[in-house]
């Protein structure tokens, strides 16, 4: 069977091949493919509606797909063994707003079978220490999304899939979270982080640029700058789009 061979883990954490998804009568993902190397932070960038969330849902195994394969940590996406190994935070904070921060985390920790001390650890990691006994409904939007992120961190998953985790956060907090992502990656965790904020992209080791259900580019930020001759990543994205449009016509 699929024993997780710790000595020889597969070099890619996520491997997507020819993934096609149709939602609401529309092709949302049109046969995309890429690899996410282990122990790195990969940014998934693109405008709203380009298919980022659908791609993320396919990776965590909750999306019905039309075709293609998604392999996560050596197993097909959605495999029961992955339910303890993959941490997932949706764009809208998926927590119970009528109970406290600690009660939320205690519940999800029990479901995951995470050690008791994990609740305290993740509260500190996302900086919600002063709000631990606050009912979630009374948190600000940014605090709520940090609570949702904290749930994803429970049980130290090998892969973290985070959909827009930094929306609505003040710059200092955003920086702290990106430092946390860097530390996690240094410790061997793989992170796939979606965003539509270009200045966050510079912090990723690798970038996936998406537009209209396709991957425009899949490279390191510096390589993309060199390829397009642009310094600013926003400009890089624009040039890649125009190159793509020219190539298509």
């Amino acid at each position: 069977m699929m024993n997780s061979t710790a000595a020889d883990p597969p070099p890619t954490a996520v491997s997507v091949r020819d993934l096609r998804v149709r939602r609401g009568g529309r092709d949302v993902l049109r046969g995309i493919g890429f690899d996410v190397p282990r122990g790195s932070v990969v940014g998934l960038l693109g405008p709203s509606g380009c298919g980022k969330t659908t791609l993320i849902r396919a990776i965590v195994g909750v999306q019905i797909v039309r075709g293609g394969t998604v392999t996560v940590l050596g197993r097909p996406a959605g495999h029961p063994e992955l339910r303890r190994l993959v941490g997932y935070a949706t764009q809208n904070p998926a927590v119970y707003t009528d109970i406290t921060v600690t009660e939320n985390l205690r519940y999800f920790a029990s479901v995951l079978g995470a050690p008791r001390g994990d609740v305290r650890r993740v509260i500190d990691e996302v900086g919600l220490g002063r709000h631990r006994d606050q009912v979630a409904a009374t948190l600000s939007g940014g605090q709520l999304s940090r609570l949702s992120l904290a749930v994803a961190l429970l049980g130290r998953p090998e892969l973290l899939v985070l959909d827009e985790p930094t929306v609505g956060l003040d710059p200092l907090l955003r920086q702290e979270l990106w430092e946390l992502f860097g530390e996690l990656a240094a410790g061997g965790t793989t992170l796939l982080v979606s965003s539509h904020v270009m200045d966050e992209a510079a912090r990723c080791r690798r970038l996936l640029l998406m537009r209209e259900g396709a991957i425009l580019a899949d490279d390191a930020p510096d390589a993309l700058r060199a390829r397009t001759g642009a310094d600013d990543l926003e400009e890089v994205f624009l040039r890649l789009i125009s190159q793509h449009v020219e190539a298509a016509s």
Partner: protein, 244 residues
């Protein structure tokens, strides 16, 4: 499925209710108030003794149906269900967690309403109180199971609330509460024979009128329990890990 995860789910739902005093107040207060009203509207001791216990089965069923169907719909629309489906949580863990939590709440509800009925309202019971409580809690669990199932057919809270009359009122009309079932037209009696509430009401009648535990009562309890398990099973089948 795992006992630990089921109990954690029960604990979580109970702490949600602990933060929501108004809902708990309504769950216990509304049937109490209705029982008091009923006692004075009927105002004949014999009538209340006949109808009161039946309602002791019908109230928990209706209230638990509404609370559960809205509660699970919130899990679906709030994204917590999707999150749980990516975690090592069995579908039955979630459903049994709900059933257990609301089962405990219904115990509180039935306890208060029954205490009120037996003291202030002078309800006269022939059978043992414990059996009446057990049958009422079983009715509540049936409501939980039907609510879980119904929530799969609702996209919005508006729809979920509308499903209550759809699922419950036809059963309430046919269960023998208004007209004894054997006095109905044949086809209505046939329909009522496949609706679980008919058995709930019959069980309540048995407890009120017979001093011991009768065979009919045991058969009724078996039917209610069977329907509850069936609805829970169907409810589990409507929970999907992958969605479009």
């Amino acid at each position: 499925m795992s006992v630990g995860v089921t109990l954690a789910t029960t604990r979580r739902i109970l702490s949600q209710l602990r933060h929501d005093h108004r809902t708990v107040g309504l769950i216990v207060g509304v049937p109490s108030l209705l029982m008091i009203l009923l006692r004075y509207v009927l105002d004949q001791p014999g009538m209340f003794d006949r109808v009161g216990p039946m309602l002791l089965g019908v109230f928990p069923l209706i209230i638990m149906f509404v609370v559960t169907s809205v509660g699970t719909l919130r899990e679906r629309s709030g994204g917590t269900l999707e999150r749980l489906m990516t975690m090592p949580l069995g579908k039955l863990d979630l459903l049994l967690g709900y059933a257990l939590a609301f089962g405990l709440v219904s115990l509180l509800q039935v306890g208060v309403v029954l205490a009120l009925s037996l003291t202030w309202l002078d309800l006269d019971l022939a059978g043992p109180v414990g059996v009446l409580v057990a049958a009422a809690v079983l009715c509540a669990l049936l409501g939980v199971a039907l609510g879980l199932l119904a929530s799969a057919f609702a996209r919005t809270e508006f729809q979920a609330v509308q499903l209550m009359p759809a699922f419950v009122l036809p059963q309430a009309l046919l269960c023998g509460l208004f007209v004894p079932r054997d006095q109905m037209a044949g086809w209505l009696e046939a329909i009522s024979a496949v609706l679980p509430l008919s058995y709930a009401v019959e069980a309540m009648q048995q407890v009120t009128q017979e001093s011991g535990v009768t065979g009919t009562l045991l058969a009724d309890i078996a039917v209610i329990a069977g329907c509850t398990l069936l609805a829970l099973g169907l409810g589990a089948a409507t929970l999907r890990r992958r969605t479009p």
